[in-house]
Symmetry: C2
Subunit: 312 residues, 2 copies
């Protein structure tokens, strides 16, 4: 991966995404004993960094491919991101969602113009439904995290952080499917000055932590974490990048995630989803490691169901 | 009130406050059928615009007065604002709070270095306790909203809005004690180009609405609104300014306040307190009036008790 590829990516997607603000807080700095720079992807279009990868993946298709459309299976932010990115680029988006997905998520995808196909809630059923659409419509399948163009789009978050603060000592991101941490690692490798990339992961979904130890992709068995965006596993495209460029992964407990999320809401006055809080929770958990450092923290998104959020 | 006085105020307080960002949202614009500019005072120091007036009031005291300290009675944001402003300016702050004030509010004042005096929860008891401190310590009493220097400090919110968007057709603010709407009206009168100032008020605490009709200061009888910052009445210093420069006041129901707050949290991804949502609720309620206009909306603060917030 060279510098020019990342610069081209950033330029390609910039008309379709927000360059999000970076928040700081004296109080949270004092609490963490470090200087923290929160990259607010909760303010990104459709409310999460996923928009960047979705836009980049679609823009890398030929005109003929774009006309036939894109397809993905996701019940989370990537479904919405692909639907909105496709809508803004005049491309059909076919979204495979499990039939038990919350109505609010289906409505969001429909609101962004996505065409939903429902299937049973198993990985096999999702893949089969997506494959059928690929065969029938000639649409291009785009994976939410294990796709190089998606990873490159995600890398622009870290690029913006390092462009604003070139002297960051480390960047911490949540780790789910691995697309964000891999992209951030590429950005840091090329644009950072000895800037480490560290992942935060829920202890009950610590597949990436275990994967880095075993040297092969480990999986989670139906993990029940509040950080619902982080239940997925790594893939064969992002794992080698993570192995090569991610320093280490910090696992955090559920209560630590909720406490970190609460601090972000109360002190930064912003709405972030539980998955976003995992990176900050990792910093608070390992204070000695981050002491006196300049630390970028990627707040990945802000799509929460306000009716179901509980702080106590 | 002349232009120079406002410019001097802005310059005086600028080292001690944040120039807060202005957020926009395509979706909320479509919903309101207008172009909305949300001035995010929830990101202000200590989480509310009150910091501006508190800083200005203290800075207008003589060195001798500052040494003897400041006193106010408040159980809300102004208590915290005066405590923090005083701390940052090395001035003692005596805060009179009712003995039934929530512990979280007392802790916040203590956290900012305020010296708390508890009293019974009546206006008479509060005023008596404050008067005692004035007599004993020689401290200066600063009213949360009915003080010209506080009003001038508050005016800097509208000045920043109009500086960024000189062509605003109107600015809408929540109305509680009247200090914010009065300051905004002064700012608009001097820096706006035919920019109307409109107040939003909870229907169950519609004292300002009634005051503008009757021509005298009306009061609320223990109003039970979720917008707890707006339960107070106007004062003899801000009321004449409001009479002269505020166009009109729109009253909103409690359910409309909650719905507006929810939209702000969900769509802007920011934490605002119920009082902040009243101005936006007023715009959504009178859509025909605001149609196709450029509308500034002041989000006054973001200090909420996350454990007690309910959206359904």
């Amino acid at each position: 991966m060279d510098k020019q590829t990342l610069l081209d990516t950033s330029q390609r997607i910039s008309p379709y995404i927000h360059s999000t603000p970076i928040f700081t807080s004296q109080l949270l700095d004092e609490m963490a004993d470090a200087k923290l720079f929160f990259k607010c992807e909760n303010f990104q279009k459709m409310g999460a960094f996923k928009m960047r990868g979705a836009v980049n993946a679609i823009l890398q298709l030929t005109a003929a491919q774009q006309e036939r459309g894109v397809v993905t299976h996701s019940s989370g932010n990537f479904a919405q991101a692909l639907a909105l990115a496709a809508k803004n680029l005049n491309v059909p988006a076919y979204i495979v969602m499990p039939d038990n997905a919350p109505k609010v998520k289906k409505d969001a995808v429909l609101g962004y113009g996505g065409i939903i196909t429902e299937c049973k809630s198993t990985i096999a059923a999702r893949e089969e439904a997506a494959a059928k659409i690929v065969a029938k419509k000639g649409a291009t399948f785009i994976h939410p995290s294990n796709d190089l163009n998606v990873i490159l789009g995600n890398a622009t978050v870290g690029m913006e952080l390092l462009n604003a603060h070139p002297d960051l000592d480390m960047i911490v991101t949540p780790v789910g499917g691995g697309g964000l941490v891999a992209g951030t690692a590429l950005a840091s490798h090329i644009f950072g000055t000895d800037c480490k990339v560290i992942g935060g992961e829920p202890k009950v979904a610590d597949d990436a932590f275990r994967s880095l130890i075993s040297g092969q992709i480990e999986t989670n068995m139906a993990p029940n974490t509040i950080a619902d965006g982080l239940r997925t596993n790594l893939g064969d495209i992002n794992f080698p990048i993570i192995q090569q460029y991610v320093d280490h992964i910090i696992c955090v407990e559920e209560a630590e995630i909720i406490q970190a999320m609460r601090l972000l809401w109360e002190r930064l006055k912003i709405v972030v989803e539980p998955s976003s809080a995992v990176a900050f929770a990792a910093v608070l958990k390992n204070k000695a490691y981050f002491k006196d450092k300049l630390v970028g923290i990627i707040l990945s998104g802000g799509n929460v169901d306000l009716e179901n959020i509980k702080f106590s």
